[in-house]
């Protein structure tokens, strides 16, 4: 038996898999990996097998299970183990999801486009006023998703720095930082929900108070836990995808030139970038609640299992030249948003934010280029959101 390789591993390039993943991919589509705490877990690296696993009825998201895979110390906390939706199975998961679906459907999100365009135009105005070199992380990638989710939820944007910092600490901090930040967020959202119960406003929080809390469908604390997840999930993932997407395009000038020549290629280019970048690296941490047969192996009841988005998105069994960025790829299928009932609630909002932001940048700053070598960009993250801390560009 070959020893189980460690997972996750840190990237050395913001958009390429860690060097050690090649060997893991070769041993896929299913193998055992070793987590930071020394425990082993099943790992799925195949695209088709990921879809099969994530729709299997014996798969569970119950993070309180003693064998649930913990991929970094910050996920040990009680808050991380009891996240609404993410750490839930049906039927409660499905009930909550149905409360939220109308507000994140493709149709609902398309109605938000004019407002998103206004917001993005304002940020790009600021970038142009600032002049080169401009840090696109600070001036666009971090504030955009933050403002958008604050407006959507009806949360005061004056507090956006608190949200940004807290959600960043929850996702990327040490165990202690993560737990403290999550508790601070809970306390803050708790008071927001209390305000909304007294005086519901137009945003999603107010709507949920009117439609679900007032009717007794959910309690105050349940709404707090739902709002917490929406805030955390909306910040880091979109922000990182935006920054990493820009870097990836700037580092592939041939693809960028095709996009300049054919702006209608943008939606397809975004899918390809989502595939290529695999912002979250791991797209699922789960536990089997019954035996699961997959790719000729059996994941036994109570065994932990992970899905590598980084590897599934580049599965050579599905994608020709999987390691090549091709913005006109016919089927840029990926599991970056997951698959099955937990597939990302905010995926359409994320896509449209990326589309509007890329369009505005490409149109108004067509000669944009990195102001530093890609190897000198400060990057962070292994096993969850890949993050770039600054992105200086010039033009």
């Amino acid at each position: 038996m070959t020893e189980a390789p460690p997972y996750p591993q840190p990237r050395t390039c913001p958009y390429e898999p860690p060097p050690g993943y090649a060997e893991i991919g070769e041993r896929g589509p299913i193998l055992k990996v070793r987590l930071y705490d020394g425990r082993e877990a099943w790992m799925i690296t195949g695209y088709r097998e990921s879809r099969e696993l994530l729709t299997h009825p014996n798969l569970s998201s119950q993070r309180t299970h003693p064998n649930f895979p913990i991929v970094a110390p910050r996920f040990r906390s009680q808050i991380a183990r009891t996240l609404a939706l993410i750490a839930m199975d049906p039927p409660v998961h499905d009930t909550y999801r149905r409360y939220l679906n109308p507000h994140f459907s493709l149709k609902a999100v398309r109605r938000m486009r004019p407002e998103l365009e206004r917001i993005v135009k304002g940020y790009v105005d600021e970038i142009l006023d600032h002049g080169p070199p401009a840090d696109l992380v600070r001036l666009l990638a971090v504030p955009l998703p933050s403002l958008v989710i604050c407006r959507h939820l009806g949360v005061p944007y004056e507090d956006h720095e608190f949200f940004q910092d807290s959600s960043g600490a929850v996702m990327l901090g040490t165990e202690e930082e993560s737990a403290t930040a999550a508790q601070n967020l809970v306390d803050y959202i708790d008071s927001l929900v209390a305000d909304q119960v007294k005086n519901p406003t137009d945003g999603l929080l107010g709507t949920l108070v009117r439609e679900r809390v007032a009717t007794g469908d959910i309690g105050h604390d349940e709404l707090v836990s739902i709002a917490l997840v929406l805030l955390i999930a909306a910040h880091e993932t979109t922000s990182s995808s935006l920054a990493l997407g820009i870097i990836t395009l700037l580092e592939h000038p041939d693809q960028l030139a095709r996009l300049h020549a054919g702006p209608s290629l943008l939606p397809g280019a975004i899918e390809e970038l989502l595939r290529y970048i695999a912002t979250t690296d791991l797209v699922a941490t789960r536990i089997a609640k019954g035996d699961i047969e997959i790719a000729g192996r059996t994941i036994r009841d109570g065994e932990p299992v992970l899905v590598s988005g980084t590897l599934a998105n580049r599965d050579p069994a599905v994608h020709g030249d999987a390691d090549v960025l091709d913005i006109t790829r016919e089927n840029p299928h990926h599991v970056t948003f997951g698959f099955g009932i937990h597939q990302c609630l905010g995926q359409n909002l994320a896509r449209i934010e990326l589309e509007v932001a890329f369009h505005e940048l490409l149109t108004r700053i067509p000669t944009m280029r990195l102001a530093v070598d890609v190897a000198d960009l400060p990057i962070l993250g292994a096993g969850t959101v890949q993050r770039v801390l600054s992105l200086p560009v010039e033009w």
Partner: protein, 68 residues
């Protein structure tokens, strides 16, 4: 060439919108975000995009049957 009949299970739909993104003349979403099939027997030119819609549905809510 045979045509397909499109069925969507509104109970298992999770509003991901992949179907509507693939083909908005065959698939729509209602006010709850749940899938609505606009035409159960789409014209042959929609065949590929309808297949793609079924393939990309994360909830497996779309079924294609061959129609006589």
């Amino acid at each position: 060439m045979s045509t397909v009949r499109v069925e969507a299970d509104r109970e298992s739909c999770i509003s991901a919108g992949r179907c509507m993104a693939a083909n908005s003349s065959v698939f729509d979403q209602d006010d709850d975000g749940i899938v609505v099939v606009r035409t159960t027997h789409p014209a042959p030119e929609h065949r590929d995009s309808v297949r793609k819609a079924a393939y990309l549905c994360p909830a497996g809510a779309i079924t294609l049957r061959s129609a006589p």
